[in-house]
């Protein structure tokens, strides 16, 4: 008989990268369901397009690198990228938006840097920012929540809209985005920043129907759903609590201070937390291990930076939401954070 040589340790915890990634995309399912409840079935078509693009890109890269095409899905990281990007973009955006974004994320942001584990920037967010900067109109055209919309869309309508820009009845996206009163509706954050810039107070701005009763129609529940998924990930020890806690603290503390001093001109911390991509960003995007800091202390600082940047950009920046920019900026700071948050090794003076 033959004997097998292997390096120790011979025991191994059976949690593979694949499983970690699977948990991540399973945990966004509540968010996706809430999303489809408020914003229609578009999200499913976007997911489909994103996954298809991601698979083609991965397979092509594997081919070029001389590996088997089958290994494209092996570690499931591409799935996570595709899912996160599909959730982030407006669900009725034209089909080429998600295709371009996903292809850019996979090909340029991930593989040009050397593939899994080598990329500096979060692929989904880099793809998102590319889209936002290149196609601002499409990327800010969020559908209004179905509950406030004049017209309800069927799956076929949604498909028509995404593929051609018009529903079966011939309505354009712009027309569909009108509320019951016939005025085009923006997202809560977008609407609020526009109104604030029009010299309205926060209280006045919040009178619009989009805000509803709970942090904006749809958006509040969406954030709650992502929070739920995120807590599952923490419970399952897929992510550590340090990054989400950092993000939420970094966002809430300065926002609260500002709000206490100037409640008329600022966004309340509650709205900060429950609107936009806050929870998605804190639990699913900032926690991408490849581009985050590595030590627990570093992760917390990384989270704080993202939270603070989100708050700063939302308040004073040119874009309504800021998670993508904040994450990319914090990604750049990671080497410095890592350098200065390195834990003291055993026997180097921590305890004597």
């Amino acid at each position: 008989m033959t004997f097998k040589i292997a390096a120790s340790p011979h025991a191994h915890q059976r949690r593979t990268t694949t499983q970690v990634m699977r948990w991540v995309y399973l945990a966004v399912i509540p968010g996706i369901l809430v999303h489809s409840y408020f914003f229609g079935l578009g999200i499913f078509l976007q997911l489909l397009l994103a996954l298809l693009t991601a698979w083609i890109c991965e397979a092509a890269v594997m081919r070029v690198r001389g590996r088997s095409v089958a290994s494209a899905w092996q570690d499931h990281t591409a799935i996570v990228t595709a899912v996160l990007l599909a959730i982030s973009i407006p669900s009725l955006a034209p089909w080429w938006i998600i295709v371009i974004g996903t292809a850019f994320a996979i090909l340029v942001v991930k593989h040009v840097y050397g593939g899994v584990g080598q990329n500096l920037f979060n692929p989904a967010m880099a793809g998102y920012v590319l889209l936002l900067v290149s196609f601002p109109v499409q990327m800010t055209s969020w559908p209004i929540p179905q509950q406030l919309a004049q017209l309800q869309l069927s799956l076929a309508d949604t498909w028509q809209l995404i593929s051609s820009g018009y529903s079966q009845a011939g309505y354009s996206l712009e027309q569909l985005r009108s509320g019951i009163d016939g005025v085009t509706m923006a997202t809560p954050l977008d609407s609020l920043r526009t109104d604030l810039s029009h010299q309205l107070t926060t209280a006045e701005a919040l009178q619009k129907p989009i805000f509803g009763s709970f942090a904006g129609v749809g958006w509040g529940y969406l954030n709650l759903a992502f929070l739920l998924g995120g807590l599952v990930l923490i419970y399952q020890r897929i992510i550590s609590w340090h990054i989400p806690a950092g993000v939420l603290l970094g966002l809430t503390v300065p926002a609260t201070l500002l709000w206490l001093f100037n409640p008329d001109q600022s966004i309340s911390p509650w709205l900060h937390l429950m609107s936009g991509a806050t929870m998605l960003g804190a639990f699913f995007i900032a926690t991408d291990p490849v581009t985050a800091a590595t030590s627990n202390k570093g992760r917390f600082i990384f989270g704080l930076i993202i939270g603070a940047l989100v708050m700063v950009i939302r308040t004073w920046g040119g874009y309504p939401d800021a998670v993508a920019f904040a994450v990319l900026l914090a990604n750049m700071a990671v080497p410095v954070i890592d350098k200065y948050s390195q834990p003291l090794a055993y026997g180097h003076g921590g305890r004597t």
Partner: protein, 187 residues
């Protein structure tokens, strides 16, 4: 006139700064190994002469004077990389004209064939061969640098260069190279 003023002012300034620089050079002189010592420290000290110089130190001097850094086969890639870093040049592949990188070897004299001519003793750059005229010679294995210089002079060809054996103490954890015994069951 203004032209003259400018020239004088600039001249004086140049003089002043020159003096400051000169003073600084003396006052804050950095005590460091001369470059030849630093190069010599990187070279593997086999003293084999494959670079074309009679020993590592002369080659170090030659590098300091601008010779190529890729003439040392015993040092191989690692040495070239370190030299390139020190000299601030691009690493080059090993110059094949001077030999190729090989496993570390050590000289062994087949002692019953040795005639005691002392030629190898004279050739050895590190005095690693023991013996006297008409007496058998032997290599002090742990002092031998594997330079090969003793092989050529031996009139009876009784010196072999054998690879340094791998011992458990210096094993490099190459698990893939372990020969696995295949035991056929008796039953």
């Amino acid at each position: 006139m203004s032209m003259l003023t400018a020239i004088i002012v600039l001249g004086v300034l140049a003089l002043v700064f020159g003096l400051i620089l000169g003073f600084a050079a003396v006052r804050f002189k950095v005590e460091s190994d001369p470059i030849v010592d630093q190069i010599d420290a990187i070279l593997p000290q086999t003293q084999c002469g494959q670079c074309g110089y009679p020993g590592c130190r002369p080659y170090a001097e030659a590098i300091a004077n601008g010779d190529a850094i890729n003439k040392c086969p015993p040092g191989g890639e690692a040495t070239i990389k370190q030299l390139a870093e020190l000299m601030g040049v691009e690493p080059q592949p090993l110059d094949a004209a001077h030999g190729t990188e090989d496993v570390k070897k050590v000289a062994v004299i087949r002692e019953d064939e040795c005639i005691g001519c002392t030629k190898c003793i004279q050739a050895c750059p590190v005095d690693a061969i023991l013996g006297a005229a008409k007496q058998m010679h032997t290599v002090i294995a742990h002092e031998c640098t594997g330079c090969d210089l003793c092989v050529e002079p031996c009139p009876v060809d009784c010196i072999d260069m054998v690879p340094v054996p791998v011992r458990p103490e210096n094993w490099q954890w190459n698990l893939e190279q372990i020969p696995v015994t295949v035991v056929e069951s008796a039953k």
